[in-house]
């Protein structure tokens, strides 16, 4: 079950389209309504990507400001949520590239095993793998699994062909699988491989 980012919508898509058309006419009250619907969702989406409160706040405001500015550009050929998260996608890609954000520092292999011989949790490894994905792959994963977009909606949001979206998910899975395989390999064996 995906997060409640998409499922618990306060407004239907038709109602959101109506809000957008009011925003085009400069209706601030309508913008405030749409803002209140999307701001928490966008904030969580960006925060999970960046792990930075200030960045999440800044990017969220940036996205919503663009919604205010470009409401007239919405053509109605996708859901409003797809359009808005598409804006979030583009701004997040630019941000991640520009800042060259390292969300989680690469774990030292020797630090994996603690004194008692236990391993870091597998979920943390998966999270680290996701964090290390290239920006577009990571964002595609978030749009599919966190926002819950269909393949066609993801393609629309990212302004990419459906085939590109599928390829990004394919590569993301492959990278994660490789990352988890490394995580499962004892560090002593990795050192042997390095020396060969």
């Amino acid at each position: 079950m995906t997060a409640d980012v998409n499922s618990a919508e306060a407004f239907s898509n038709e109602q959101e389209i109506a809000l957008l058309s009011q925003i085009v006419d400069g209706d601030r009250a309508s913008f405030e309504e749409l803002h209140n619907i999307y701001q928490p969702r966008l904030f969580k989406f960006v925060f999970r990507l960046t792990r930075s409160y200030n960045t999440a706040d800044e990017l969220t405001n940036d996205v919503l400001f663009t919604v205010w500015q470009d409401a007239g550009r919405f053509r109605g050929d996708s859901r409003v949520s797809t359009w808005i998260f598409g804006i979030a996608y583009r701004k997040s890609v630019r941000h991640l590239r520009k800042r060259r954000l390292k969300l989680v520092p690469a774990l030292d292999q020797d630090a994996i095993v603690d004194e008692s011989g236990g391993d870091i949790e597998r979920q943390d490894w998966v999270q680290q793998g996701i964090d290390q994905l290239p920006p577009k792959q990571k964002l595609t994963v978030m749009l599919v699994y966190y926002v819950g977009l269909s393949c066609e909606e993801t393609a629309a949001a990212t302004a990419s062909p459906v085939s590109t979206v599928k390829t990004r998910m394919f590569h993301a899975r492959r990278k994660l699988k490789k990352h988890l395989a490394i995580a499962a390999t004892p560090s002593s064996l990795l050192e042997e491989e390095d020396h060969e």
Partner: protein, 214 residues
Amino acid sequence: MSKPAKAPSHDELRQRIPWYLNGTLSEVQATEVRQHIRECRQCQSDLVIHEEIRQVVNREETTPIVPANAAASLLNRIPDDESRTGFQVPRFWTAAAAAVTLVTIALLLMSQFGEGQRATNVLYETATSADTRPEMGYVLRVRFEEGIPAEIRARVINELGGEDMRELDDSRTYEMLVQLPGTSLRELEHFANEVKARSEIHDAEFVALQLPVR
């Protein structure tokens, strides 16, 4: 009589797994994936990885409390006469209109500093935060695609700011300092996107804010 739909291939079904997991496939497509996974070890393995990704992405974690009154705060930053896009404008004309604006502003700047003087004579300190100041300088950096002929670069440079665009060492990158009201940061980012959308341009961005040294 219509032909029966061709059965999807293994690769097609494998690619559908993420959307099978997030529940957005049609009933027919989901059934095809479910049946295929029962018989295909490779897809079973893929399913496991994808499910792990999905769980981690959605796991409960502490998210900072969203700031209150955020809508009001954002609305207060939008001037009453803020112009918004109400219709589709061809990208070139939007960029051209903005370029004319920038050239005009650059000319005004030059006239302020007198004949022969340039805005770059003013001392600036570099900052990266969008402080609210009456006026700020923005550094717009534009990088051309590789192989763009010199005459086309010259034409684009002329549209963007003419001789105020300073060529950097690699001969594909140009910078220009523009002074505008502080609230214009987002409008300029919008403009940078328009510039970046042009076929000749590889990248366009604002790399720094230049604040006049007090």
